[in-house]
Amino acid sequence: MTNNSKAKYLYNLPEHKSVGRINPALLRIIITPAYTKIDFGYQTIRYYEKGGWVRISKDTFIRIKATGEKFTMTKSENIPVAPVRHNFKSTKDWLYFSLYFPPMPPKTKWIDIIEAEPGTPNDFNYHDIELNSKKAMELL
């Protein structure tokens, strides 16, 4: 992460090592002095009739790799918190949604996003997400 504590930064399409985790796609991480916002895009697949459903656990958290410190989700946008579900209409449906967390400490470099541990392939877990300061873009 960058040093300017008042600025807002965007990490576009951050790299992570979550093999096979392409859905939902991790699209953007926006870090501000007030919150951390993470944007995702979900595309339904043929496996489920009418595309299935999604929801997010209220216990979803960000973990800083270096310290193990956890930041629990504060708000979700466009995706219901479990046990409520969002039911898709077809195998060609999609959903754009965002999760909010507390602001990250400056100089954070690696994080995990965890919905459940140890977790199943159905949980939205992302590991070793790099917050590369060289790729950070300041928001206007």
């Binding site: 965007l10 944007d39 895009g41 754009y96």
Partner: protein, 336 residues
């Protein structure tokens, strides 16, 4: 009679000289000097004299300026100290033109552009109604194509600002064709409307070229504090001048496209040309026309051919013929 723009500017200069408190009673020489200084060209005494006469007497102009000449002070003044050039009444044809323009503006407002635009037009309509209560006709004379607001239109103002002030934007884009999400950084150049849909065209960092994005497929655009990348002017020209529609087909260059249209559609295309490059290559004895276009093929052009495929036949290039044939075969397959 339309008012000559330069003459109107001279009238304003003459008025400003006459009401100036800095130098009262300007002489003819003073008026000539100020006009020459402001407009950067020479004027004769005769021109300024005609201007003063027109300002005083020309009924069509309707200025009716009470200009008098003072022999005592060797200069011009207004006999009515309350007179103001800025309160010139509009004549009948001005009012009619204004009513028509207001009606057209009313059609363009609403869902077509931004909320700020609607506020601005509402201000105009309010002052217009105050000035011309009889002009507020309930009967609609002009109707333009004004569809209901579509998804993504709420981003219009942000992209307008980004293109105007040259600010890069990051947004999430969902491709209807690929069925995937992508977050892209785009340097917007222009907002384009085609068949009532709005698009933003700009340099995309991930695609490394100018691309078109439908506003309806865009999520949460955000402005970036980042150096703006200018698009290559020749590429912009390809996008804006030589394309019918908004999505030029990747890899295709500007080329000649020839097609034959049968009489009814031919009349329509003659009166509503598809593109400025449209030429009639041949008039057939049966009323059919051979028409050519020189442009970069787009998906919208192919859609146009498909929508009239029982009234036209593409002759060249062969790949567009094949494309249309494949669409028809696919349609037949779906119909089974």
């Amino acid at each position: 009679m339309p008012l000559n723009k330069e003459a109107y500017i001279r009238y304003k200069i003459i008025d400003a000289c006459i009401i100036s408190r800095h130098k009262r009673f300007p002489s003819m020489l003073d008026l000539i000097n100020v006009c020459e200084e402001k407009l950067g060209k020479k004027f004769t005494i005769s021109t300024i004299q005609k201007d003063i006469k027109a300002m005083k007497e020309d009924e069509l102009l309707g200025i009716n300026a009470p200009i008098k000449f003072s022999k005592q002070w060797n200069g011009y003044y207004y006999s009515d100290p309350e007179y103001s050039f800025h309160n010139i009444p509009l004549n009948d044809s001005d009012i009619e033109a204004l009513k028509t323009a207001t009606d057209m503006l009313a059609n363009f407002a609403g869902t077509r552009v931004s909320e700020n635009f609607n506020h601005a037009t509402e201000k105009i309509f309010t002052s217009f109604r105050e000035s011309f209560p009889d002009g507020n006709s309930k009967r609609k004379i002009i109707q333009t194509d004004s569809p209901p607001s579509h998804k993504g239109f709420e981003h219009f103002e942000l992209f307008f600002r980004a293109a105007k002030d040259k600010i890069p934007v990051c947004f999430v884009h969902y491709s209807y064709r690929k069925r995937t999400f992508k977050s892209v950084i785009v340097h917007p150049v222009i907002l384009k409307e085609f068949q009532n849909y709005w698009y933003v065209v700009g340099y995309s960092e991930s695609h490394k070229q100018l691309r078109t994005f439908g506003l309806d497929r865009i999520y949460e655009p955000i402005l970036l504090k980042r150096k703006f990348r200018e698009a290559n002017p020749s590429v912009q020209e390809k996008y804006f001048k030589y394309v019918y529609g908004v999505y030029p087909i990747p890899g295709q260059k500007r080329q000649k496209i020839i097609f034959r249209v049968y009489p009814m559609l031919g009349d329509y295309i003659l009166s509503h040309p598809i593109h400025e490059s449209q030429r009639i290559d041949n008039y057939g004895g049966d009323g059919a026309l051979t028409i050519s276009l020189k442009l970069v093929p787009s998906q919208e052009l192919i859609n146009f051919f498909l929508s009239f495929s029982n009234h036209l036949k593409v002759l060249k290039p062969e790949w567009i013929q094949n494309e249309i044939r494949n669409y028809h075969l696919s349609a037949l397959k779906n119909d089974k």
